[in-house]
């Protein structure tokens, strides 16, 4: 099984071979972008939520500058994903849906059929990724629009650029996205530290998973891009 998977893996993704017993799951740029975005999101949440919790400090400039860094990082991630990586690995398709149903049925003991091994990303990982993508992009787009309302070295503020009603919608989307991010980050961190998931945390830090982890957690026929 291991031999077969190794052969299959090498055939389909030679760049992923790091050492005989290790496989690269996240290349350096992917890890860099992930942690940069994570830091940005945490800074953004901290700078916006602490003043509400009565911890007062000058937060606006730090908030929008960090927001710009997040926007650039997210854009880089999107472009890199589109052109340099196999984006289909992250697509949530019909088979992922079937896998998710099968997992739920097994989890609730309705079915005895064990969950199928995923490819590079499990349905849950894909869903949390897409959840982050939607909320972070919503935050970025609304945040960029809101920058019209603050003075920057490049332009003077203009609160009349949109109607009050439009600004209201933008604020609501931005705030809801922030609240969702808090929830998703809690989930993300919880699962990252679960014993059976720590290999993914390590792979996001060091880049690799062991070949035995690969064999026990993943279906080699589904890892590669098809």
């Amino acid at each position: 099984m291991v031999a077969a998977s190794k052969e299959n893996f090498i055939v389909n993704d030679k760049s992923a071979v790091l050492a005989p017993d290790k496989l690269i799951r996240h290349v350096r740029l992917a890890r860099l972008l992930h942690w940069l975005m994570a830091i940005c999101v945490l800074v953004l949440l901290t700078t916006s939520l602490l003043p509400i919790a009565e911890i007062k400090f000058s937060w606006v400039t730090l908030h929008w500058v960090t927001g710009l860094i997040l926007a650039v990082t997210a854009l880089t991630h999107i472009l890199w994903s589109l052109f340099r990586t196999r984006i289909r690995q992250m697509v949530f398709g019909l088979r992922d849906m079937q896998d998710a149903v099968r997992t739920l049925l097994w989890f609730f003991r309705i079915s005895g059929q064990e969950p199928a091994k995923p490819g590079k990303y499990s349905p849950a990982q894909k869903l949390i990724h897409h959840g982050f993508a939607v909320t972070i992009l919503a935050s970025i787009v609304t945040g960029l629009l809101m920058m019209v309302k603050v003075d920057t070295p490049l332009w003077e503020r203009n609160p009349y650029w949109l109607s009050n009603a439009s600004w209201g919608i933008i604020y609501i989307i931005h705030d809801l996205a922030s609240m969702l991010l808090v929830t998703m980050i809690m989930l993300h961190i919880y699962f990252a530290f679960r014993p059976e998931k720590r290999l993914y945390l390590r792979s996001m830090v060091l880049g690799w998973i062991s070949r035995s982890e690969y064999a026990s957690h993943h279906d080699p026929t589904r890892w590669e891009n098809k």
Binding site: P51, E54, K56, F57, S58, W59, V60, T61, K149, V150, D151, R157, N158, P159, Y160, N164, W167, G168, Y171
Partner: protein, 330 residues
């Protein structure tokens, strides 16, 4: 929003001691409104721009009144009226700057009722905010004054951060110039903060002008001996001399020895959301002779970093000239 004829309903509490007042302030939190002279509060209530559930009338608390000398200087009860401050012999003799500033507040009738604590804690006069619009300071998400069409003649030159309101207090500049401290009490105890740290910029807290939180009470103002008997200058420029808020005001305290300025504290009001220490000016004039040349140089440097809005460019030369006059005349 229109002015209403009737005062809205609220629960009125009249505590007889500070402890009693602090109990009430804690009980009502943000819904409680400590009332001193009422010269600003009643306008807010009548305009329905502020709607406290409970008004805690402090006027029955005698321990909040009066001026007394202490080993460190002088302590002024927050409920001391501005007229009492103006007429007090210690203040007149040692801290004439505060007496001058207090004497330029509003009208004699208002000074008879208005308290120094109330004058220091008063909210900004930005008319968009006062009108009841949902601006940043009112908890909304826009500033109506800092726009291409906004009427911002009275607004700030420095430290605008979404909100461009300014501190309207005349006595605040004097207390900061005299290196005063604020005594704040709440149910947890007492703390003393420097006057400079008492006022907050919109970048830090866009809703409040001071660090006072619900449950806090300003009980006294302390002035140290450090600046007692120094040379002082206060001037306020307003649209009307009889009764108006400052467009720009200045409080200066100088220690001069043989014609040389040994130390100085200069504070401008009406140009940012807090009384602004003119530290650049202070650094320039320290060690310099008190003459026209120093005044000119300091005046030119006074407005460094100012970013006027559409309609308040006039404040830049006004501020520069006030600095010159302060150095010439202190």
């Amino acid at each position: 929003m229109s002015m209403k004829d009737m005062m809205p309903n609220f629960e009125l509490y009249q505590p007889a001691s500070v402890d009693n007042a602090l109990d009430l302030l804690e009980q009502f939190g943000a819904d409680g409104w400590p009332l001193a002279g009422g010269q600003d509060s009643y306008d807010w209530f009548k305009d329905r721009a502020k709607k406290p559930r409970a008004v805690i009338d402090l006027n029955g608390i005698s321990e909040l009144r009066g001026i007394k000398e202490t080993a460190e200087g002088v302590e002024i009860g927050a409920l001391t009226t501005l007229t009492e401050v103006i007429n007090n012999d210690i203040i007149k003799a040692q801290y004439g700057l505060l007496a001058s500033a207090a004497s330029r507040v509003a009208s004699p009738q208002i000074r008879n009722m208005g308290t120094i604590g109330g004058n220091l804690c008063q909210d900004t006069r930005c008319w968009y905010y006062r009108y009841g619009l949902d601006c940043y300071r009112a908890g909304g998400n826009t500033c109506y004054a800092d726009t291409p069409q906004g009427m911002n003649r009275e607004h700030c030159l420095y430290e605008a951060d979404r909100c461009v309101a300014v501190s309207p207090s005349d006595t605040a500049t004097a207390v900061v110039a005299l290196d005063g401290s604020m005594v704040i009490r709440n149910k947890s105890g007492e703390k003393v903060v420097k006057a400079e740290e008492f006022f907050v910029l919109p970048a830090v807290d866009i809703i409040h002008m001071t660090i006072l939180k619900p449950g806090d009470l300003l009980t006294a103002i302390r002035l140290p001996k450090t600046w007692a008997g120094a040379r002082f200058y206060f001037e306020k420029v307003a649209d009307r001399n009889t009764w108006d808020f400052a467009l720009v005001n200045i409080s200066a305290a100088l220690k001069v020895n043989n014609g040389t300025i040994e130390d100085a504290r200069m504070v401008c009001g009406g140009i940012q959301c807090t009384p602004k220490r003119l530290t650049v000016v202070e650094d320039i004039i320290k060690g310099s002779p008190q003459n026209e040349e120093t005044a000119e140089l300091a005046g030119k440097s006074a407005s460094r970093g100012a970013t006027p809005l559409n309609y308040n460019h006039f404040k830049v030369p006004l501020m520069e000239n006030l600095v010159k006059r302060a150095i010439r005349s202190a």
